[in-house]
């Protein structure tokens, strides 16, 4: 148990440090890398309470895909560091208010749960052979199947909408038809003519 506590506090300390780094680093790329670290640390914390599916999916989706796209976009943009720094002081009161609100909600939630269950926050270890993924899947595809499907449809809609909004057709653009190219056979293009060797006269 002591070992787990040490791990918990180490991961949490790095997580808080990384989160502060996201805000305070001047270079946006460094901020993004801190955010990646923060995601990783929260995945580690989830692993500590044995929710391996959610932890690995967090790494897979956020670290592996979302943050890569983030980096991609930030590298492409020419970010004006001075303007970003001015923005930090300007929006600080608003940000502080939002953070305070979130903190109050979290504390309330923890308070409420502590009262209701009487548990001191320690999680019961899952029994041997318990498969997190299977349990989640069986709930998601039976009890909550409609909510799940509706969420999927909304996401699909969002993708289609984003593509239609950003798609532009330039007039006079020459595009290859790849299936046409692949379907080309040699005899369509080349005519082989057989002829006898010419005789010297």
């Amino acid at each position: 148990m002591l070992f787990q506590s040490i791990l918990f506090y180490t991961f949490s300390a790095v997580l808080v440090g990384a989160a502060l780094g996201v805000v305070f680093f001047k270079n946006p790329i460094h901020s993004v890398m801190c955010l990646v670290l923060a995601f990783f640390q929260s995945a580690m914390l989830w692993l500590l309470i044995e929710v391996e599916f959610l932890a690995i999916v967090l790494v897979l989706v956020y670290v592996g895909a979302v943050m890569v796209l983030f980096l991609f976009v930030i590298m492409m943009l020419e970010v004006n560091v001075e303007a970003v720094k001015r923005g930090l002081t300007r929006y600080a009161p608003l940000a502080a208010a939002i953070a305070l609100l979130m903190a109050i909600e979290l504390v309330q939630l923890i308070w409420f749960r502590g009262d209701a269950t009487g548990a001191s926050g320690s999680f019961a270890a899952t029994p041997e052979g318990y498969d997190n993924t299977k349990a989640l899947g069986s709930v998601l595809y039976t009890e909550h199947v409609y909510a799940f499907e509706i969420a999927a449809v909304i996401l699909l809609l969002a993708i289609v909408a984003a593509i239609t909004l950003t798609m532009r057709k330039r007039p006079g653009l020459k595009v290859q038809d790849i299936s046409k190219q692949v379907a080309v056979r040699a005899k369509d293009r080349v005519r082989i003519v057989k002829m006898d060797a010419e005789k010297k006269s």
């Binding site: 592996g64 796209l69 991609f72 790849i178």
Partner: protein
């Protein structure tokens, strides 16, 4: 094998407390796997040069040691004693850490690989997800290297690589959804066991389209020819590692080859039955000198990895480089629809209780 290590540790370190014995035996297992992987990586560079040499009617390396077998070590020593140049306008910390970020995931994924019946370092239930997560993290090394170098060529290489890996990762993930449906588990050991009983039980046969998608995406994910636009030496010099020299370059090199071995191993495990023997159940071999052929063992996995490594080199010697927009088209418009269709086919067949998926309820 794992039991052997544990017994050995108990014999020599029996006086240690139990958890330290456990730590010792796990460390030994990790060391064995790591040294094995690094040796395979070192000799696959030699293998590559020999294979491509013979395909181009040349001899290949033959100066260092017998048959040129010392060549990998000579290369390593050469790279180790070269100077590391760090560009003045680069982002120093990220420049140094980028090669490590690309190497570590490639090695860490071996933790869940079932190498021999009963031998796997960490037998975790979400093994397949773990592998997917780690292969997707590997892209950071390339992107950061390209950005930290502060060079246009490197940035172009990084951008190409990022777009390519994000595109092909989706196809890979979907192909693995098919594998986990067929195997009925995310645990790699269970997936291998589901394919035991001769080569007719391998997932290669029922999941053939997914196998093709996974393998080609794997080649694209490792930035190997014909998908090596991230390096593209004829267009952008060397892509993301233009400015890297010495050991830093060696780490990128090592990461690329470690990723190739990893993808080969994963393809073997997911579609070719991993350590399972193709001749399992050929009872007439019993009692003859060939009985070992029917037994599942590490040798089979190694043979399959060698075959896929050979394929990597074969493609490099055979195919011209893909054009960038064609790579994107192949990933998004061909592979992803193919995988989605095949997952649907699999679902329908499982529902109708046809084929190896009848076990799914």
């Amino acid at each position: 094998m794992k039991q052997m290590i544990a017994d050995g540790v108990e014999f020599f370190f029996g006086w240690l407390p139990e958890w330290m014995q456990y730590v010792t035996s796990t460390t030994i297992a990790i060391l064995i796997v790591m040294i094995g992987v690094i040796l395979v990586v070192a000799f696959s560079t030699y293998f590559e040069r020999k294979v491509i040499g013979s395909m181009q009617a040349r001899v290949g390396p033959n100066r260092v040691g017998p048959l040129g077998l010392g060549q990998p070590f000579a290369d390593v020593i050469k790279l180790l004693i070269k100077e590391i140049v760090i560009p003045a306008k680069s982002s120093r910390f990220l420049f140094v850490i980028a090669p490590l970020l690309s190497l570590v995931p490639a090695l860490a994924a071996w933790a869940v690989m079932p190498l021999h019946p009963g031998f796997v370092i960490a037998d975790i239930n979400a093994g397949l997800l773990y592998v997917l997560a780690l292969t997707s993290v590997g892209v950071y090394g390339v992107i950061l290297a390209g950005w930290a170098t502060n060079s246009k060529y490197a940035l172009l290489g990084a951008m190409r690589s990022a777009a390519q890996i994000v595109a092909y990762e989706i196809a890979m993930g979907f192909a693995l959804v098919g594998v986990l449906m067929a195997g009925g588990s995310l645990n790699l050991g269970v997936i291998v066991n589901a394919q035991s009983g001769g080569f007719l039980n391998w997932f290669l046969i029922p999941l053939f389209p997914l196998f093709i998608v996974y393998w080609v995406s794997g080649v694209a994910e490792t930035n190997r020819a014909p998908f090596d636009v991230a390096e593209g030496e004829s267009e952008i010099v060397a892509g993301f590692h233009v400015e890297y020299s010495g050991v830093a370059f060696a780490l990128f090199f090592l990461a690329e080859y470690a990723n190739m071995v990893l993808i080969s191993g994963l393809t073997a495990i997911f579609f070719l039955g991993g350590w399972a023997s193709p001749f399992e159940g050929w009872t007439f071999l019993n009692g003859t000198a060939l009985a070992f052929l029917a037994a599942p063992s590490f040798v089979w996995l190694f043979a399959k990895i060698c075959f896929f490594m050979y394929s990597f080199f074969w493609y490099r010697a055979t195919f011209p480089r893909y054009r960038y927009d064609q790579i994107m088209r192949l990933g998004w418009k061909v592979f992803i629809p193919v995988t989605i269709i095949w997952i649907a086919v699999e679902g329908v067949m499982a529902w109708a209780r046809i084929g190896p998926w009848a076990g799914l309820s």
